[in-house]
């Protein structure tokens, strides 16, 4: 049996932290260029995820589960590195490929580029 009153303080503290970080995500786009915005957003997301994992999901002190989790994330990371950094970043057919140079190949798209973007 645990003491509810003393434990719940931590939950509220984490909530405040998460809300503040969410507020930060709304400010970031105006601070960074489009290219740097995404990494910055993901960085904030990682901090939020860490807070949730450690405190809401009680991962703190769970050695075996943490190691397994790190292993799983490492595998995802490897997929990202191989597919994105090794393969797509070195895509050799950018100029010829239908999927990367659409405006020269399909008529529908060319018209749309000129049309105003709806909001």
């Amino acid at each position: 049996m645990i003491d509810y009153k003393s434990e719940r303080v931590m939950y509220y503290k984490v909530l405040v932290g998460l809300l503040l970080l969410t507020a930060v995500t709304f400010v970031l786009p105006y601070l960074f260029e489009a290219g740097a915005n995404l990494p910055a957003q993901m960085f904030i997301a990682v901090i939020k995820a860490w807070l949730i994992l450690m405190f809401y999901m009680h991962l703190k002190g769970e050695k075996l589960i943490s190691v397994m989790g790190i292993f799983s994330l490492a595998i995802v990371l490897v997929f990202f590195i191989i597919v994105l950094v090794v393969d797509v970043a070195n895509f050799q057919f950018k100029d010829e490929s239908h999927i990367t140079a659409p405006q020269h190949t399909t008529t529908g798209v060319t018209e749309n580029v000129a049309a105003p973007v709806k909001h």
């Binding site: 049996m1 645990i2 003491d3 509810y4 434990e7 719940r8 939950y11 509220y12 909530l15 998460l18 809300l19 969410t22 995500t25 709304f26 970031l28 786009p29 105006y30 489009a34 290219g35 915005n37 995404l38 957003q41 993901m42 904030i44 997301a45 939020k48 995820a49 949730i52 994992l53 809401y56 999901m57 075996l64 589960i65 397994m68 989790g69 799983s72 994330l73 595998i75 995802v76 997929f79 990202f80 597919v83 994105l84 797509v88 970043a89 895509f91 999927i99 990367t100 659409p102 405006q103 399909t106 008529t107 529908g108 798209v109 018209e111 749309n112 580029v113 973007v117 709806k118 909001h119």
Partner: protein
């Protein structure tokens, strides 16, 4: 299987006794199993983020344009709702562990209501997008016609509807699980002494939140600077 489980004892050659871990009443085993399940969720959404990043690398400008047209006001509201619901779910588990079954049930009800709010807002958002002609199957997201959007935007919206849709599906499953949990609590199967089910469903709700923590900025925020908050 209803009877009280008494762990077996095994004896080594020197006569020392060792308690055997059985599959019954294995709290840590249940928790470990659920974490393993959550890793599969991570891999699943990891693969979808891989697809998203793949096309983001090929069409960065289109992605910013498409993202700018999303409704950041509703998306942000949903983020806060999920955040608060993670708190209520956590508190319900806390109350359960502290022996306050009634309080725990109230907090689960609060979580269900927040989840329903999340889904309603999602519905409003999708309806607005549908009315603007941006939805799976509509002309704007098909190729080769007068309304076709550029490739990058088609792919952005394709993944947007797929990923938020699959996330929404997880929310619906979560609501189902919570209703089931309430039934189990009422039946006395989940109690302060035996709360593995409650623990795991709380974990499930956290992973659903965790996925949204990444889905939200990737879709809504990359084009925020050029789009305001209004969206469709």
């Amino acid at each position: 299987m209803a009877h009280e489980y008494i762990p077996e004892i095994s004896t080594d050659r020197d006569g020392n006794e060792h308690v055997v871990q059985g599959w019954q009443d294995d709290f840590y085993g249940g928790k470990l199993g659920f974490w393993l399940f959550m890793f599969t969720e991570v891999l699943m959404f990891g693969a979808m983020f891989l697809v998203l990043t793949y096309y983001n690398m090929l069409h960065p400008a289109d992605f910013v344009t498409a993202s700018a047209s999303l409704n950041r006001f509703l998306g942000g509201t949903n983020t806060v709702i999920l955040l608060v619901s993670a708190l209520t779910m956590g508190l319900s588990l806390l109350k359960m562990r502290a022996g306050d079954v009634k309080g725990a049930k109230l907090m689960i009800w609060a979580t269900i209501i927040l989840a329903l709010m999340f889904l309603s807002i999602k519905a409003v958002e999708w309806t607005a997008e549908y009315n603007h002609g941006v939805f799976l199957g509509l002309d704007a997201l098909q190729s080769g016609n007068a309304h076709s959007k550029p490739f990058g935007e088609i792919l952005f919206f394709g993944m947007y509807f797929t990923m938020t849709g699959i996330h929404g599906f997880h929310i619906i499953i979560g609501i189902g699980l919570m209703v089931w949990l309430l039934k189990r609590i009422n039946a006395g199967k989940v109690s302060p002494e035996h709360h593995i089910l409650h623990w795991n469903i709380a974990l499930y709700w956290d992973i659903v939140h965790l996925i949204w923590v990444f889905v939200f900025p990737y879709f809504y925020m990359i084009g925020a600077a050029s789009g305001g908050t209004g969206g469709h």
